[in-house]
Symmetry: C2
Subunit: 192 residues, 2 copies
């Protein structure tokens, strides 16, 4: 029992990591803990539109654990330059350390889920990616492009980096976003 | 697709509701969105110790949606006096309104999960209750009893209100907490 308690208290630290998006209607930057909850809800709601049939519960589990590595490694802005491979290695080491607080079989199963998400090696992982990538877009579309403007992100960057993964996981979602992103460009909601 | 987007943006408001417990090591009060994420992780970790065999994925779904009614109704402190029945009715009306943003079959399925949690009518719901009730205790035990001291909550109140539901869902968890709560009393971490 003490192992589970140590694990769950360590997870509390994810509430202190800050992302680049503000909670709607506030000045506070959201954290990966509440973000993970929201994308789990997005995935449950969108599951009927997944590109391939998916086990929605596996998707939810994956989304709940996918940001745990940020407890040690912090949040990296999706459009930031940087050594993506070193970044992934740091997050994986963190995830392994934190899941390792649990008994070995549970630790191994959570790390396997984390790896599955990271490598995008299943229909569930691809759909999970689509939810994870789409959520900040939906918030920016509701927030006059706040994180795009704050961080100098262009329409071309958003489309270039997101069309592939979102379409691969949930084509109907990308069809929807494409029109909304055009509209956002006309509104001047991009930063570059 | 617009229905799902409206729903997920409405859910964003849960990040603005405040609970009585501070995020460890900060002055910020946690919100029910990040709390829902954390108890979903607690339930996944504790599932092998559930009182009865449970479908952990159903438990997770239940925990992800159980606080959605607080978007309209706000958070009620567990130990507060008040009309519990009116409170539940307000939260259920809110949940029905918010889930109702989704297409009818999805709305009905989320509301059924919400009701199942609320009535404690299944092994999954009872285990979910144990996780939900235990999390603030674990945080208070790690936080020198912050929300107990701030709100004048006694050791007898905690034991009286929590022993039943936690033991019913996860006996090993209550066995663990009982000793820790005695220790907290000796430390003077209660408010009354």
């Amino acid at each position: 029992m003490q192992a589970v308690v140590d694990f769950i208290l360590e997870l509390d630290r994810l509430k202190q990591v800050t992302r680049k998006i503000r909670v709607r209607g506030t000045e506070r930057y959201e954290n990966p803990a509440e973000h993970s909850w929201q994308i789990a809800m997005l995935a449950l709601s969108l599951a009927p539109c997944a590109a391939e049939p998916v086990d929605a519960d596996r998707v939810v589990r994956m989304l709940l654990v996918h940001d745990v590595g940020e407890i040690d490694a912090g949040d990296a802005f999706f459009f930031a330059e940087g050594d993506a491979q070193a970044r992934t290695a740091a997050e994986r080491a963190a995830a392994a350390r934190i899941f390792g607080l649990l008994p070995a079989p549970q630790a191994a199963s959570l790390l396997a889920l984390w790896d599955e998400f990271e490598t995008g090696a299943s229909a569930e992982a691809r759909f999970a990616h689509a939810a994870d990538r789409a959520m900040p877009v939906l918030l920016n579309l509701a927030n006059a492009g706040q994180s795009w403007r704050d961080n100098g992100v262009s329409h071309a960057q958003v489309v270039g980096r997101l069309a592939g993964p979102i379409r691969a996981g949930c084509p109907a979602l990308w069809d929807y976003l494409e029109g909304r992103l055009d509209e956002a460009r006309r509104n001047g909601w991009f930063g570059a």
